[in-house]
């Protein structure tokens, strides 16, 4: 990653305070896992961009009969479509990240009576 995105200009705090993580911090035991996670996140973001664009395209096709390529970047859904898209987007996010859900307390509740339920 570009070092302009560091936590601080030098990864250091100028005046006391908590030490800041520098670029590319690792959270898993194996840094490859961190990279894999980022790849998946990026992939899913890009895929969402595609889905979103297709949706826009379909809408424009329906409305105009013809697709003008330049009109895609100016596309803005009306309130109803925006709301429908938001629901689809959340569903999409959930589907891709479903496996992580299995680590959370919702899943643990099945085996740990009394657990879960924090919403």
């Amino acid at each position: 990653m570009n070092n302009r995105h560091s936590a601080g200009p030098s990864g250091q705090t100028p005046e006391g305070g908590a030490p800041l993580a520098g670029n590319n911090p690792v959270y898993f035991k194996d840094p490859v896992q961190d990279a894999m996670m980022n790849m998946i996140l990026e992939l899913s973001a890009q895929l969402w961009v595609c889905v979103d664009r297709l949706y826009a395209l379909e809408d424009l096709l329906a409305r105009q009969g013809i697709v003008a390529a330049a009109s895609l970047d100016g596309y803005k859904p009306d309130a109803e479509r925006a709301a429908a898209l938001k629901i689809r987007r959340e569903r999409f996010t959930h589907d891709i990240l479903r496996d992580l859900k299995s680590l959370t307390e919702g899943a643990a509740a099945a085996t740990e009576p009394g657990g879960g339920g924090a919403g």
Partner: protein
Amino acid sequence: MPLMQVDTRQALGRNNVAVLPRLASREDESYLDYVESLRSFVLDGMRFDQQLATRTGHLEDTSEPPEERLKKVREAAAEMPVAQARDRLMRSQQEMKWRRICSSLDARRDIHLERLKAAEGRGPARLELDPDFEQPQYANVHFHLQPDGYYKDPLAGFRYHYGTKVFFVGDNDKDQLHASLVENHLPLPADGRVERILDLACSVGQSTTALKQRFPAADVTGIDHSEPMLRCAHHRAVELGVDVRFSQRLVENTGFEDNRFDIVFSFILFHEIPMRIIRQTLAEVRRVLRPGGMFAVYDFMMAREMTPAQLYHRYFDSRNNGEPYGDDFCYAGFDSLLREFGYQQAAPGKRLGTTQAWYATLPAS
């Protein structure tokens, strides 16, 4: 889950239009919509509050000092894969957000700079910049991982504004959080007199304009040390047609005369300055706030009131989201600091989600 539990209905009744620049393409906007959903997923779907509380034996009980509880919490979390996964996702969504915001604003850099330039000298909002201003060393931090921080890039204000839009996961798209704080969670001074208001560290001025909308007859000033923030704030207020003043000054050394203000308002400033500057700022506000005036502070809740998961997330956020001074603030005990500097409680404090409101005043001397 709302980040701040505020009732935004009344505030939205004002039909405020947020002035947020459109990004370079629909593609960039969909990407950032996705990041916003990802953030929602992490906040709501990746919770492990119960697991952590069970493992540390602390659910409701907050009697043990927070430092001690944090130790246990970190030990327990180190064994929990979900904690690492959440941390990873939290950091990643933040990096993804900034990458795309910056590249998208950069793609139209000239246009954005032109917009700021075009607002120069236009009213009704006023802008005062100090050509000799020197940024303090302690402020040279890339808070929230914002590339180049708050003041080193001329588009820092637009970056910040878009970044906080995603941060509030849709709850502040029309500045409704700021409006609600001002409309519903800001008590008046006891004598009701409100002629001059100071917004400390106003960033892009979302609370500054809301203050003017609630108190149309008052003189409202927002101060910040960052020129790009102030330019963006001024541009925004010009677009909204709100008559407020933005001025480049330090919160700990404002240069205003004694007893000038009836209300001093401060939203999420104190956790971003070192303790030395917090103390100087409390002394400075004591000087510029008139006796009986209202000092309203909204900031991170205190560590001693945090649940195990909240302690864990604060520790993570301070280190991994560019909040180096956040722990000092949360563990210090802001109530006793206020007392130490001679403030009295003007109204009972309030918890708004994980944000705490303090209402302080000064006795007549």
